[in-house]
């Protein structure tokens, strides 16, 4: 190992890069070793070539997908937070709405896209709404869970002081559910990408989903993989952003890094 005593190499920090490079190296090697044709599995070098060759189109479609995903995600955050607080507020609302939401969540969103297209036509709106529908559920469930798991002793202490339901919610329930909420954003953002791309592959004039579908019909497999690669990159960036936001907003819940 090339380590000096003064500054040891941080293997853990380097691990994500090492593993990614390793994956691509193995992939490249396997494709060359077995001489796989381009239309079955293109090597990373071929994908990179496609990305460079088609960059203007890829860039434009990536932005479109990012746009529909983020708008859908934003709606899901607003709606999920509001409904989560409502559901966590009262047992009556919880009991009534929860089964409905589970049923709704069980519906494959692919099946909803044609309906959305009938209502709103082909374009950005169905993609935004699909992203919203799929990202909405984890946020509601997590916020409601945070509210529902207030320690009974805490509630007793405050109620004995004359606290109203509203006081308990504002002072304890909502701050308490924030780590759950920010945690759920990481799940929701990746799901939002799934939603928008699914919709784009079914009915859209632009976006990475649409681009990959078009590339596939022309047997341009490197371009299909280039689209997948861009989705992965966008997904990782947004996930990292949400993880950073989570640390920023609810550092108290991740105490190991902060203590003393």
């Amino acid at each position: 190992m090339a380590v000096t005593a003064a500054k040891p190499f941080d293997w853990v920090k380097a691990a994500p890069w090492l593993y990614a490079v390793g994956l691509f190296a193995v992939w490249e090697g396997a494709v060359r070793l077995f001489a796989l044709p381009l239309y079955i599995l293109p090597a990373p070098s071929a994908i990179m070539g496609a990305i460079i060759q088609y960059w203007p189109a890829i860039w434009k479609n990536s932005l479109q997908t990012l746009y529909t995903t983020l708008v859908g995600f934003g709606l899901a955050v607003a709606g999920g937070l509001a409904l989560g607080l409502l559901v966590g507020w009262s047992r009556f609302i919880y009991a009534g709405l929860y089964p409905l939401m589970i049923g709704f969540n069980a519906i494959p969103k692919v099946a909803v896209v044609p309906i959305l297209v009938i209502w709103f036509g082909i374009g950005s709106v169905p993609a935004i709404l699909t992203a919203f529908l799929i990202a909405f559920f984890p946020i509601v469930v997590n916020v409601a869970t945070g509210l529902a798991t207030i320690e009974p002793e805490m509630e007793d202490v405050l109620r004995a002081l004359g606290a109203r339901k509203w006081d308990i919610m504002v002072k304890v329930g909502i701050p308490r559910s924030m780590p759950y909420f920010f945690g759920s954003l990481k799940v929701a953002i990746t799901l939002a990408f799934v939603g928008s791309v699914v919709s784009e592959t079914i009915a859209a004039n632009s976006g990475l989903g649409h681009m990959m579908l078009a590339a596939q019909s022309q047997f341009n497999v490197p371009l299909v993989f280039a689209g997948l690669m861009m989705l992965a990159v966008e997904g990782i960036i947004m996930y990292a952003l949400m993880a950073w936001l989570e640390m920023r907003m609810t550092g108290w819940a991740h105490r190991s890094g902060h203590a003393r």
């Binding site: 405050l158 002081l161 004359g162 105490r255 203590a259």
Partner: protein, 272 residues
């Protein structure tokens, strides 16, 4: 001393409506102002139910509960509570946790903004009293279990309650920390009497030595449905030193209590 501060008369409490479990039955007791009483009994005897009745969190199914000459019909805000679980809010500093009751209690919440500095000074004084001077800015999870429980006591006391209800507050602590906190609570009680605003303390506990060391009177409860089967007066003079626990009289009382509870465990009290 005129009327007792807390009086429970012939109270029944049944959880879960008709046909539910009867938690306490024919429960009667009275606590004088400024008194320190302990409630002991076999587990599941309704000690925590007693807490909820007095604080107005649960209403009796029959009988009457009065606090400060008023029948309890809603939560009583002259009460401070502390449980075995300190339930500090992890996103607030210790000081802000202690100030939390002031944001709730009606007569304080309107004044809190204007007199913030006064209230903070008061919280700092309380922290110093329980031996946590200078720890206000720490987050609760940076404190040890014993320190959290001290902060919990401060939170229960910040709004100057006339009645302090403690539900096994020292149960989860190690033996040495527990003894230290016994002395803290003993001194709090003592000092409040000296200032002319005596605080009345009701301590629910499993620890018989704790009960005998701290309390003026000890109520022994029967197994469920709970009622008081014996009231013991503790004869020791105040202030009491920890050494009192090693006297034969002390052990005699503990031994008697133990026998009573062992008996109560075997044969649940017959309905009265």
């Amino acid at each position: 001393m005129s009327r007792p501060l807390v009086s429970i008369e012939n109270v029944d409490l049944r959880y879960g409506g008709e046909g539910g479990t009867l938690a306490v039955s024919g429960l009667s007791l009275a606590v004088e102002k400024g008194e320190f009483v302990a409630v002991v009994g076999p587990s599941g005897c309704g000690k925590s139910t007693l807490m909820k009745l007095v604080t107005g969190l649960n209403m009796p199914s029959a009988g009457q509960v009065s606090v400060a000459d008023e029948p309890v019909t809603k939560p009583v805000s002259i009460v401070g509570m502390a449980f075995q679980n300190p339930t500090m809010l992890p996103w607030r500093t210790t000081l802000d946790n202690i100030l939390l009751p002031l944001e709730i209690v009606e007569r304080h919440r309107v004044r809190l903004r204007a007199f913030k500095a006064d209230y903070i000074a008061k919280a700092e004084t309380l922290l110093a009293t329980v031996g946590l001077k200078g720890f206000g800015a720490k987050f609760p999870w940076q404190l040890s279990g014993g320190m959290q429980q001290r902060a919990n006591l401060c939170r229960a006391l910040i709004h100057e309650p006339e009645l302090l209800m403690l539900d096994e507050p020292f149960g989860a602590l190690d033996a040495f920390t527990r003894e230290e906190l016994w002395c803290v609570i003993r001194d709090l009680h003592q000092d409040s009497a000296a200032t002319g605003h005596p605080v009345t303390i009701v301590l629910v506990t499993h620890d018989l030595r704790e009960a005998v060391f701290l309390a003026d009177r000890i109520f022994v409860m029967s197994a469920r449905p709970g009622r008081i089967i014996e009231t013991k007066t503790v004869p020791f003079q105040r202030p009491r030193a920890l050494d009192v626990m090693y006297t034969p009289e002390f052990n005699g009382i503990v031994h008697d209590l133990r026998a009573l509870i062992a008996e109560a465990r075997v044969q649940p009290a017959e309905a009265v």
